[in-house]
């Protein structure tokens, strides 16, 4: 067991799977010699050489378009978008080709590729470097959208993503890259995609979060549990789409109350989808409206103001109390 941060944990998964399977190829802008602008691919170029760790020209559509061709030829490309804010250039290839290759050909052709991208705010970066647009990807059937929340699940989900037979968008909360360390088992650990995780069981309230929101949510949950002497069931969504609403619905049936914490703007996000699923399958169990702690429907502010807009521990804690008191 080693204590790793998320950057190291993802790096570990890539290293492991590249050693396991010579069809795994890493490509993207500055992923080779430089090891990526966040150093997630550090060392891979030295270990596996420039044929397997490719510094590409600056062109996101090409990175994904070429990955599709590689995947169709049997390789397992892991492509990096330097920031999710520039990944939209590859949506035409992802939506138009990768996500459909299996459906288009009734499974004769498939597209096993991973599209890694750092996303999310709170790193004091320039415009386009702070958005949380997982919902945009989640609108595309045929794509699995994964968001780890810590080093250990990041490593285990990345292994599953590379081995998945279809395209996976793997969104890495860059705010959490170096924020904390966790024990990551030395032996291989794989975490099934498409499943949420009950991080802690509880009976009085269900709380759902994902990505960088897990940390402040955990703190708020701790705070309110102690303050009120109750137990809160905390769920880490992990896969945004296809969503494991069953785990949430089961929990809500038990607790009758739910709060969802979302870094993205309020409208058209995963929190709305969660509410819709609870409506579909557990409405009668609700003793209060589902609480939603979210960003606002504004263009993501530059970093001078962004922290005021992001959900934080205090805001989450207030929402938990409001939902409990409803």
């Amino acid at each position: 067991m080693a204590k790793l941060n998320m950057v190291q944990a993802i790096n570990l998964a890539l290293t492991e799977e590249m050693a396991n399977d010579e069809n795994v190829i890493v490509l993207g802008e500055d992923v080779g010699v430089d090891g990526g602008v966040f150093r997630v691919t550090d060392g891979l170029h030295d270990k596996f050489g420039e044929k397997r760790v490719i510094d590409t020209p600056l062109a996101e559509s090409a990175i994904v378009g070429a990955s599709i061709g590689m995947a169709m030829a049997g390789l397992r490309p892991v492509a990096e978008m330097q920031f999710s804010g520039f990944s939209y250039l590859s949506i035409p290839q992802l939506e138009g080709n990768a996500s459909r290759m299996r459906a288009r050909t009734m499974g004769k052709w498939t597209c096993p590729l991973v599209l890694r991208m750092p996303y999310g705010g709170a790193v004091r970066a320039l415009e386009h470097h702070s958005e949380s647009r997982e919902a945009m990807y989640a609108t595309i059937p045929g794509v699995t959208v994964v968001i780890p929340s810590g080093p250990r699940n990041a490593r285990a989900l990345m292994l599953a993503a590379i081995r998945d037979p279809d395209p996976v968008v793997f969104m890495e909360p860059k705010r959490s890259y170096r924020a904390f360390r966790e024990e990551v088992p030395e032996e291989e650990e794989v975490r099934e995609l498409g499943k949420a995780q009950v991080v802690q069981a509880g009976t009085d309230l269900t709380v759902v979060a994902w990505g960088a929101m897990m940390r402040p949510t955990l703190k708020a949950v701790d705070l309110i549990q102690k303050k009120r002497n109750i137990t809160i069931e905390l769920i880490d969504l992990l896969t945004i789409a296809p969503m494991d609403a069953d785990t949430i619905v089961e929990s809500v049936k038990k607790t009758g109350r739910c709060v969802v914490v979302q870094e993205a703007p309020r409208s058209f996000g995963a929190s709305s989808e969660i509410v819709a699923r609870i409506n579909d399958d557990a409405l009668l169990y609700l003793e209060a409206p589902v609480g939603r702690v979210t960003n606002y429907d504004v263009v993501t502010p530059y970093f001078g103001r962004e922290m005021m807009y992001l959900p934080d521990e205090q805001r989450i804690a207030r929402s938990l109390e409001e939902t409990l008191d409803f």
Binding site: I25, K51, T56, P57, A59, S61, A62, V64, G65, A66, S67, I68, G69, M70, A71, M72, A73, G74, L75, P77, P92, Q93, G96, N97, M101, R102, A103, R104, T105, M106, G107, K108, W109, T110, P141, G142, T144, D164, P165, D166, L193, G194, P242, M243, D244, A245, D246
Partner: protein
């Protein structure tokens, strides 16, 4: 201190068999009689396929499709220059390329009648499924070519087709650049058929040729008479030879013409003259190729009639097969969202089937 010239480039044009069917003996490629025959047969099959499909479409027995009539040399001859190890990555307007590799016509028809079953041609044949988003497939070709290099499949290059309109998309530029940087074994064949729906070639780009795009990437580029099967064969052969030898990609501009409508939903009278069409009919690749084969003693009136009969019979058969197919399971889309089935989607399948049953029950 200088204003000095630092780069010189030129672009050439290749024609071997002219409009009248006269061949340039110095440039004539050495194709066997069988090869020539297969090439002609496939071109004719593509032509007849268009004619039949148009009829079916007009009768409401087929969906929208885009005829390739006039471009048979440009999209068939390149495949005759390739080996079975080489890949084909194209659009929906190269029937000859697919048929050459043995795709059953019944499948091609199923595709244009709205069934995914039509896009399931055996992957071992190395023909990628048809691509609709113009130019996007050229990037797949580059990735595929990279994979061939990576796997050490030296005899495998990739031929990718696109249209003159598609050359305006960013993806095409990115594909040329990646192919050049990677020295990937790709042959880009632009079917410059003068039109992108209603937009004429001169409004796509102001450059005199599309071939000169190659200069931007220090890549060999050539403009070819796309209605000349021998020139298309020869240019592709040379490009493939370079690709197989590790010498990277080539850009071929095939100057040809879309003799019919863009698709069956389109009316060319809105935007171009019948005179223009007539001029291009005079350059018909089939006519000149037939003359060439006759002059070589490989074809005559009688054997041509036999060929036409054989092709008609094949098409009749395949149309029958296509129309007789009834196994179209309604919920097939649920099978192919993801390889790993997800419980929430499986429940939707159940609801979907229940709905169908209710509608059936209600009549």
């Amino acid at each position: 201190m200088p204003l000095k010239k630092i780069g010189d480039f030129s672009i050439s044009y290749l024609q071997i068999l002219n409009e009248k069917g006269v061949v340039d003996a110095k440039l004539e490629p050495k194709l066997s009689d069988d090869e020539l025959h297969k090439l002609y047969r496939t071109m004719l099959l593509a032509r007849e396929t268009d004619a039949r499909m148009l009829k079916l479409q007009r009768q409401g027995r087929l969906g929208t499709f885009g005829p390739g009539t006039g471009q048979e040399a440009a999209f068939t001859a390149p495949i005759s220059a390739a080996s079975d190890e080489d890949w084909i990555v194209g659009t929906f307007r190269e029937p000859g390329a697919r048929l050459f590799r043995g795709e059953p016509l019944s499948q091609y028809l199923a595709y244009f009648n709205g069934y995914e079953e039509g896009n399931t041609f055996d992957p071992a044949k190395r023909v990628l499924p048809m691509s609709v988003i113009v130019a996007s497939q050229t990037l797949h070709a580059v990735g595929l070519a990279y994979a061939m290099q990576y796997k050490g499949e030296k005899d495998s290059a990739v031929i990718t087709f696109l249209g003159d309109g598609a050359t305006s998309e960013g993806d095409f530029h990115e594909a040329l650049n990646f192919a050049s940087v990677w020295q990937a074994p790709v042959v880009f064949i632009v079917q410059n058929n003068q039109w992108a729906i209603s937009t004429p070639r001169k409004m796509q780009t102001r450059a005199k040729t599309i071939a000169q795009r190659a200069v931007a990437y220090d890549m060999p580029g050539i403009q070819v008479d796309g209605n000349d099967p021998l020139a298309m064969y020869q240019a592709t052969k040379e490009a493939l030879d370079r690709a197989h030898a590790g010498e990277g990609p080539t850009l071929i501009e095939a100057v040809t013409y879309r003799l019919m409508m863009h698709t069956t939903a389109d009316d060319p009278k809105k935007y171009r003259s019948e005179d223009e069409e007539k001029e291009w009919w005079k350059k018909d690749p089939l006519t000149r190729f037939r003359v060439y084969l006759e002059n070589k003693g490989l074809l005559d009136e009688k054997s041509h009639a036999a060929l036409a009969t054989e092709i008609k019979a094949y098409i009749d058969d395949e149309v029958k097969k296509f129309e007789a197919a009834t196994d179209w399971p309604p919920d097939i889309s649920f099978d192919h969202v993801l390889g790993t089935r997800h419980p929430s989607i499986e429940r939707q399948r159940t609801a979907f089937l229940a709905n169908l049953n209710k509608e059936a029950a209600n009549g």
